[in-house]
Symmetry: C2
Subunit: 196 residues, 2 copies
């Protein structure tokens, strides 16, 4: 039976992890593959795994991303070793014959209206985005997730003519402790939870 992890990993994953505004170091292609090989195991509806990931590292790709960013996110993103576009595929059901092979799971989704598919892909693609954040921290990386950007502009620059849609962005690297302020508060258990 699994036990509670020790304080060191709990601190690294949750308690001491912060959203950084400046990063240094390199994020190798090998590290990105290790990152995917962890996050891919996280659970999704019918194992649908709708998230798709673009790892933006080159100056050319950064230049395509830049104009879509809110002003406050521009400089830090251009300077980050890597920026992940966490996206989802609205046609995720096309992969279900591989992902859920023991029955015709494709037919559960392929006639749904786009609004329903968007809800399912946003829910599960966001779960996978959180798996990416925690997997990155587990690999010793720091993260800077952002939703301050123009999704339609990113979709036009990276996903034109496809069923992929951007969800949010995550800067990756080694966080500069000088780039963060005191930690913002969280709500108490009794404000957001009930036991019934």
């Amino acid at each position: 039976m699994p036990q509670t992890l020790t304080d060191a990993p709990l601190d690294q994953l949750f308690r001491q992890a912060r959203t950084y505004n400046a990063f240094s170091g390199e994020v190798s292609d090998d590290t990105l593959r290790q990152l995917y090989d962890l996050l891919k195991w996280g659970p999704t509806t019918s194992n649908s795994c709708p998230a798709r990931f673009v790892f933006v590292k080159s100056a050319e790709a950064k230049a395509r991303l830049g104009p879509a960013l809110d002003e406050g996110n521009y400089r830090k993103t251009m300077a980050a070793p890597a920026t992940v576009i966490v996206a989802y595929d609205l046609a995720f059901y096309e992969k279900l014959p591989v992902l859920f092979p023991h029955t015709d799971a494709r037919s559960w989704f392929d006639t749904k209206p786009e609004a329903d598919l968007t809800t399912i892909a946003l829910r599960n693609g966001s779960l996978q985005g959180a798996y990416l954040i925690l997997a990155a921290r587990a690999l010793g990386l720091d993260c800077g997730p952002m939703s301050g950007f123009d999704n339609a502009q990113v979709d036009a620059a990276f996903f034109a003519g496809t069923s992929l849609r951007s969800n949010f962005l995550v800067n990756l690297g080694h966080g500069d402790p000088g780039s963060i302020f005191a930690r913002s508060p969280r709500l108490g258990f009794d404000e957001v939870c009930r036991i019934e």
Copy 2:
């Protein structure tokens, strides 16, 4: 600088963790508080923390939840030590004076149309749902996340007259290894990722 975690926590969180269909044991109220005290640190847009959690443990509350469940999720949920209703608050911005105190962040959201608020709350509430799943695993618990239920029926039974909406459910306990099948495949890096 943080290092890569050792194999044991990576296995517990990602590689060996499974979605169980039967659970044993107890999940104490104290454990639920420990769970929230980890997951609450995960990042969200403007620290908005829109997720709300109902931990369904009593026979009375289980009986209210039951009729909303798809048939395939009924028996295992009724038998689970605890079932979390992962919800989000569409009026999450009301808490921003506490959560993001250094500027008027409430005004960034409080005039947005409900469709936009739903997207933001679903994205960030799902991130927090994934933090809950991984925090539960970090505490030695197993999870059974589900979206096979009638959201409107759960909302009527648990959130009537409020701005809370159900997102997905998670059974919690100690997973019975006899309740799972061989692991389903995942897509390869090159099918879902690109490095640009």
